[in-house]
Symmetry: D2
Subunit: 358 residues, 4 copies
């Protein structure tokens, strides 16, 4: 026998941004809170600048972990459960278990790693400095997951900062100019630069392939495995790497695919059917309004609607596409997919708990 890591994934319903009763019940039922490495939450705010449901949820989890004496959990909240999407928490845990010393390659299992970067200066947001900072963070999270080969990485979730009016003013007061003054748009720049950082870390792009002016402009530069969310509540980056590794054990298996546009259900069905049979454990996806203003040649209005942010439109619609495939609504569909998959499309990661596992 030898000691190995084993990952677990739990989805828990949330009745409000501060409802963590389901997580507390899991812990009461035996989940060791010290095994929790990450919480991915979908909260019911607008997912844009003034979405305080993310901060409220984060503060609530921070309070829980402080009471339990648990440190270092990566808490990533993504706002927006449009359409029938359901607010929920996805808990990722890892623990050390005894496992047979010899095993077949087919015994690969879900692996999890996390990291945080240094704080980002407002004037570096949406520029190469952010790309580089994130690439370093992703490499650190891969090391934490025990994954050497970037090909084994199936999803990288990053929570990145955004600009507020105050941050823009602070930078100006120091004589610096931010990439943009519009706070809502700043979320896109931050998500885009972070995604390019993932692409660099995973070898999908080289650092020299990216210039400042490419960010949020040259959209055929992208990562097929990045998922980035911007939040008002942090100044650095929280990074979670998910993949498959022979060094991990347990029933959870994972893959990823790319939706080529907002209604690309066939790609998702194909990826799902390639996984072993089992209970669906989590779906992690990105959605964005196609920046060309059309989907398969037909005009959409997501970018011309001044009443509803395009990111909200996109989450609702892609949420419908995915719910039609999976028959579930506790799906992590995160808005804003700049440089995350092709324009108008986005990465989708699927985790199942294998039926047969011994």
């Amino acid at each position: 026998m030898t000691t190995r890591f084993r990952a677990s994934v739990y989805r828990v319903a949330a009745s409000a941004p501060d409802d963590i009763s389901g997580v507390e019940a899991l812990i009461a039922d035996g989940l060791d809170p010290h095994s929790i490495v990450a919480v991915l939450g979908k909260t019911e705010g607008n997912g844009c600048v003034n979405d305080f449901t993310r901060g409220f949820a984060t503060a609530t989890f921070e309070g829980l972990f402080a009471r339990l004496g648990v440190e270092g959990v990566s808490i990533v909240m993504s706002g927006g459960t449009e359409g029938a999407l359901s607010p929920h928490w996805t808990i990722f845990a890892r623990e050390q278990v005894d496992a047979p010393a010899i095993f077949a390659p087919s015994r690969r299992s879900l692996a999890i790693g996390v990291s945080r970067t240094a704080d980002l200066l407002p004037e570096h947001l949406g520029r190469k400095e952010q790309v580089d900072l994130v690439a370093q963070g992703v490499r650190a999270a891969m090391a934490s997951a025990g994954i050497d080969d970037p090909a084994d990485v199936h999803f990288v979730q990053i929570k990145c900062p955004l600009l507020t009016s105050a941050k823009v003013a602070q930078a100006q007061a120091r004589g610096k100019r931010t990439v943009i003054a519009d706070t809502l748009k700043s979320m896109g720049y931050s998500r885009g630069a972070s995604a390019l950082g993932v692409a660099v870390a995973l070898g999908e792009l080289g650092m020299d392939d990216v210039e400042d002016t490419d960010i949020c402009r040259t959209l055929d530069l992208y990562s097929a495995r990045a998922s980035t969310s911007a939040g008002v509540e942090l100044a650095d980056h929280e990074i979670i790497v998910l993949g498959m590794s022979e060094q991990w054990t347990g029933p959870f298996a994972m893959t990823h695919t790319v939706m080529w546009d907002a209604m690309d259900a066939p790609s998702v069905r194909a990826a799902w059917s390639a996984l072993p049979l089992g209970r669906l454990a989590a779906v992690l996806a990105k959605a964005e309004p196609d920046p060309r203003g059309t989907v398969r040649g037909r005009r959409h209005i997501m970018l011309d609607d001044s009443d509803i942010s395009g990111t909200r439109h996109a989450r609702a619609f892609v949420g419908g596409v995915l719910a039609g495939v999976f028959g579930e609504t506790e799906l992590y569909v995160s808005g804003g997919a700049e440089h995350q998959g092709p324009p108008g499309g986005g990465p989708v990661a699927i985790i199942v708990e294998r039926e047969e596992w011994a």
Copy 2:
């Protein structure tokens, strides 16, 4: 040879609520404008009380038909193309053609009938008077379509009125009380009562099965074939009946099904695959936030979101489900499905143009 009716269906993209250039091009290409019996439009407004895109589109088509000397076209505009749904017009036309006098039952084809009711008093909206008025109108439209058996009806589209602050005040000035004072909510009452009128006309319910207090309350009373939209621009009801009839000829075939909830893609796939092979000509569907606040046991936030109307959430999401099935975004997804299919679900009608037709 004998003379029979033949239906045609055209979908035309709209770049704005007053863009009818595609329809004008069809006419220039040979479509006889006098053969047009109905226009179903999806416009890009919010689909709620202050959605003037419907009225703008209606006025634009009225101007066109007036210039062409065409009268009696039923113009039904449904607001809201959330998510990647694409604004478009669906044109229904019928013309008389020569056909073989003897034909097999398999030669049934799409049939179209229309009617309008008298004006509805504001205080009758959402009450049995409206149910009865609509039932009469549906029967008139069936007669217009040459359909005797209600089982041959696959879709009944109704445009019904709503209450505005002014109409509520007018009723009060006459000493009458409207079913509700809230203008947005009045749309639901009008849609609900109209749908029950369809159910009565099609024999799905008896007139005695419905009381005033059932409307928008007893949601297991419903029609599987009604689609009703409320609009600020009319005081009566515009009714379009679509079905299959041996008395009609042509390549278009139609069926319907019911989505049992907002993500019931399998029912839609099954209905589509039961139709003959052919090009998709139109999809007509209803969507609503599940009034129980959940979808398959998971909470949705559509009814608790004070920033976006629940009908907009529902159209975006169900639009995604259907686009994932059909791979198209020019889908007529209309919000508000009170008494139209089961709670949280709704009717879906599919029209194809058969590949083989001789």
Copy 3:
């Protein structure tokens, strides 16, 4: 010398719903946290059903007071700082001071009292049970303030519960029917019944003057001094009574008036000029869309706008009227004024810190 109470009022800017740094600074500068009896906050949410900024702010203050060992503070958060209104906290404190045993009646000063009611059952919301429960609570708060004569009360702030989809379902599961199923509308019923409870307690109405069917219908029944806000975060009522009393000392003086409609600046200017000279310490006001659909005979669109809640429109507009009078934007303008002042108008309370006080 004798011992008397002395009230203090502080307005503190908030940079986010969880920014209480300004209050912590006050405490660091000498404010005894045990002297704080109430916090009235304006947070930057939508002020409607899914406004979690109120709960976030409340949780943040609760954490502060728990850390400081302070109990019993009434925390009332009102969402919505539309237009140029500025998010802020108003802190009401009282302490015992030595004062001359003999004093002139002109030496009346601001007095503060608080109370909480029992929890309200969902099916009692918006009905006479709620009116009665609140009236009892107001009397308790007056006793807490040492005010005997209702004429000395200038403002009664009440935080009341609302219905969520879950609460409606819970009541139905017990065989009870709530006054309404619509969650956003339930806020109006709760605010209205609470305001009538104030009117009963202050003798503006008798308990027999109010029937269930009057609530949110017979709008000429109202209190000129009630201000009620509904929040998702509580099930009971938090009540704060503000008035003038000879039993209190200190520089703060208060009065109230009624705006007869949404643009009644003259009434506000008159009330302000009747107060002694001094620094403006707080303005507490209510705003609502005129339910008749007009203001001075001209149509407004607040009740027909399905993109923005009418309460948000009203706060922005009345906020502008008041800011034009006072030249400040840290104004407590709370939306939803059912039975609080005449239809379309609302109470306004003004507190100044007198220049001359010895």
Copy 4:
């Protein structure tokens, strides 16, 4: 006797974007439709990209004028009647009358001039080409009004184009790059460049004072008399100049002022009281969220609210400030005040019909 022009101003309520019944009634009562030179409308849309109420109103008026055989009327529709602002049309008419050949300078009266520019290429929007094009247009409108001295101009209303997704794509297809890709933001650039064109025409700035990079950035460059609105329905600029001239006669008199920030009621009161006594005939004002994120040092949330456009917040609030001054809600408050008055403030023009006029 000699022949001179005489201006008239009418405000007419609108019950919907296509309700011109009040204008038809004016004409039935004797207003010569050929005397109408301009219509300024406030319609009840969101005033942003997808506000089709402007186009609907414009089409309705165009239909009216076509039926009447009237050509060349400048139709300027500004969307957004937030708060209690009331949708209405302001009709400006001019006719030739006989007047005494000799008159005192005090006999100056309201003068009106109009012009249209050539179409603007999408890539010129928000750049110096637009500034120059507008400056030429303003000079043409002044000539049309018979005003030589720029100091006699009190208001210049311009309707300017905006970018849509389609226009951005068209420019890109020609190898051109628009100033911005975001359609909502493009409205600001167009309004800003147009306002600078007014400033250049009126001598407030020289053409050399403005660089491309100043537009929407160097906000201390502004006109105190410009009011610009962007609309999806035009590609050129419609320009209306209003001022006072000895060459005109009639009871209408006009002045202007600048609100220094969003709550600067005193400046407005002062300007109004400096006009001769008379009935208020029109108020024309601009409103914008202060780009610094504060008003008199206090934070506002208008630029951080992703649910409601900042322009809607600003119109509601400034509408309240002005309604508190004038006691009326049929005020032309137009959103987006880039380079129109100081940052966060804006021009206000007031027209009265003098009581004494002989």
